[in-house]
């Protein structure tokens, strides 16, 4: 019983990572209608920027984190600006956009490996351990729970601000948005910048929990996409939920299946959802 409770606690904690990745992936997909799998490249770049600032510039971790967030946002905006936008202007099909995204996703780790070397990097960040009622956890786990707060704030932003409203409008009916006078390309840029910035905390915690390697972005982005799809396309809350379910499942899965199969099984679920029910579990009702 205690084991189960422990696993649920850690599942909820770790689930926040997947939920945030899914949410950040989802906002980009809903607004720009592009399956931006290069989000995995932004993920890993965010982690490396953080590393650069704490190791090479010797900045305290808090400041480094604060800097890497907008910088990653800019990287995401760069991808939109230099790759997606010109291709869309040429009426490229979604598949071509996906291929371009794929090449950034695979090429970026190569560049990073050349600059930093392929070996995993351990992030030196002070951690404190707490023991409460038999449960042992660290500040990292606290940070994971903080991610839920971050997601809550983001949802609030989407609901209350004019910027958030415009993003929801473009996601809902792009033609009506254009007719009403909203500049869709500006909103696209905004969505990808915010999404790219939003995923960085998850990347940093991921890197802290495990290590920072050039290829660390690949699995998270697939899981994030899986979470979004599982939760139903068109639904930010669903994306968060789907992401969290993945996280929970992965952790509970350790109980029953050897860890090697985890990823395979998680992806098998994704494949099944895609082929049997592409509109996800919660369906396509757009409810923000």
């Amino acid at each position: 019983m205690e084991l189960l409770l422990q696993l649920i606690f850690f599942g909820l904690a770790k689930g926040s990572l997947y939920a945030l990745i899914a949410v950040s992936f989802a906002i980009i997909f809903f607004v720009t209608r592009t399956l931006h799998i290069a989000h995995g490249a932004v993920f890993v770049v965010g982690a490396y920027i953080f590393y650069v600032f704490i190791s090479i510039f010797s900045l305290p971790w808090f400041l480094s984190a604060l800097i890497s967030i907008p910088l990653s946002g800019i990287f995401g905006a760069l991808i939109e600006f230099s790759i997606y936008r010109p291709l869309r202007r040429k009426y490229a099909s979604p598949f071509i956009l996906l291929l371009a995204s794929l090449s950034v996703l695979f090429g970026t780790p190569g560049v990073l490996a050349m600059i930093f070397g392929p070996e995993p990097i351990f992030l030196e960040v002070p951690k404190k351990t707490f023991i409460v009622g038999g449960l042992a956890f660290t500040t990292v786990h606290l940070a994971m729970f903080a991610l839920w707060v971050l997601m809550g704030l983001f949802l609030l932003y989407l609901r209350r601000s004019q910027g958030g409203r415009m993003m929801r409008a473009v996601a809902d009916r792009p033609l009506v948005a254009e007719v009403v006078g909203i500049d869709a390309s500006k909103i696209n840029l905004m969505a990808i910048t915010i999404g790219s910035a939003l995923v960085v905390p998850a990347a940093l915690i991921w890197g802290l929990e495990q290590t920072v390697t050039p290829g660390m972005g690949f699995m998270p982005v697939l899981m994030g996409a899986a979470g979004m799809i599982l939760g139903g396309m068109g639904n930010i809350l669903g994306a968060a939920l789907g992401g969290m379910i993945f996280g929970l499942a992965m952790n509970l899965g350790v109980l029953y299946i050897s860890s090697g199969w985890q990823e395979g099984i998680a992806l098998a679920i994704l494949v099944l959802v895609l082929v049997l029910r592409p509109e996800g579990i919660l369906g396509t009702r757009i409810r923000w």
Binding site: Q162, A169, R173, V176, V179, V180, G181, D183, I286
Partner: protein, 234 residues
């Protein structure tokens, strides 16, 4: 003349020509109706005027000069477009929809509140359902919301595409009453596309008939009183 169009030729890529030299004009404060069968080019005409589609050749003059390039700029200039069959954001609430009609105008300003008041005055049912998701409104209510959004934009020229499409007669009458009101009290000039004679009769002074991309009739609304003649022209 709020709108002058001369010899407009336009179509969809790669090689489909829909408008083959259309000329018409709308005087300030007028309601002008364009009729024609499906595929005659009515919606294409409105798309070109609003800037969603580029013309191959021909001239468009808005208030005596060439209109702005992008659609967003044309909205700022005073041209509003009511799309056929859609025009609202279903997943957002009524008030959010209205706020989005003027995306760059802050909700807290007096200007915004004043415009909101006008919209609610004309469509009181919108005020009652401020926080309701627009997608859950009935067809007629959604149409009213889209007109409310147009009102928020304070246009000089309104391009209105089949406002009665899919609506029951009673609702359509309400919509057209509102259209009249928009024209009367706010002085908005309207280029209306409509297939239904009865409604067109209520509001319009001038009529054009578009057939296979060309204007085949232009004149007074009196022709509408004898539909058989219309068979000939369509």
């Amino acid at each position: 003349m709020i709108l002058e169009i001369e010899n407009l030729v336009a179509g969809y890529p790669p090689n489909k020509i829909v408008l083959r030299g259309v000329s018409l004009c709308v005087s300030e404060g007028e309601i002008v109706t364009v009729m024609g069968h499906n595929g005659a080019g009515k919606t294409t005409l409105l798309n070109v005027i609003f800037g969603l589609l580029k013309a191959h050749s021909g001239k468009i003059l808005y208030a005596g000069r060439e209109p702005a390039i992008s659609s967003a700029a044309r909205v700022k200039d005073g041209i509003s477009y009511s799309l056929q069959g859609q025009g609202i954001f279903p997943s957002l609430t009524v008030i959010e929809n209205l706020a989005l009609a003027t995306p760059y105008l802050d909700m807290r300003t007096d200007e915004f509140q004043a415009r909101l008041k006008t919209a609610f005055a004309l469509f009181p049912m919108l005020a009652e359902r401020k926080r309701q998701r627009a997608g859950t409104l009935s067809g007629g209510q959604q149409r009213m919301l889209s007109l409310g959004m147009i009102l928020m934009q304070r246009p000089r020229l309104l391009l209105l595409d089949e406002p009665s499409l899919g609506l029951a007669p009673a609702l359509s009458e309400q919509i057209f009453d509102a259209v009249c009101e928009i024209n009367n009290s706010l002085g908005v000039s309207i280029l209306l596309v409509e297939q239904n004679i009865k409604y067109a009769l209520r509001v319009t002074q001038k009529l054009y008939v578009l057939k296979m991309g060309q204007i085949v009739f232009s004149g007074n609304r009196d022709i509408l009183l004898s539909p058989e003649r219309l068979w000939e022209n369509l």
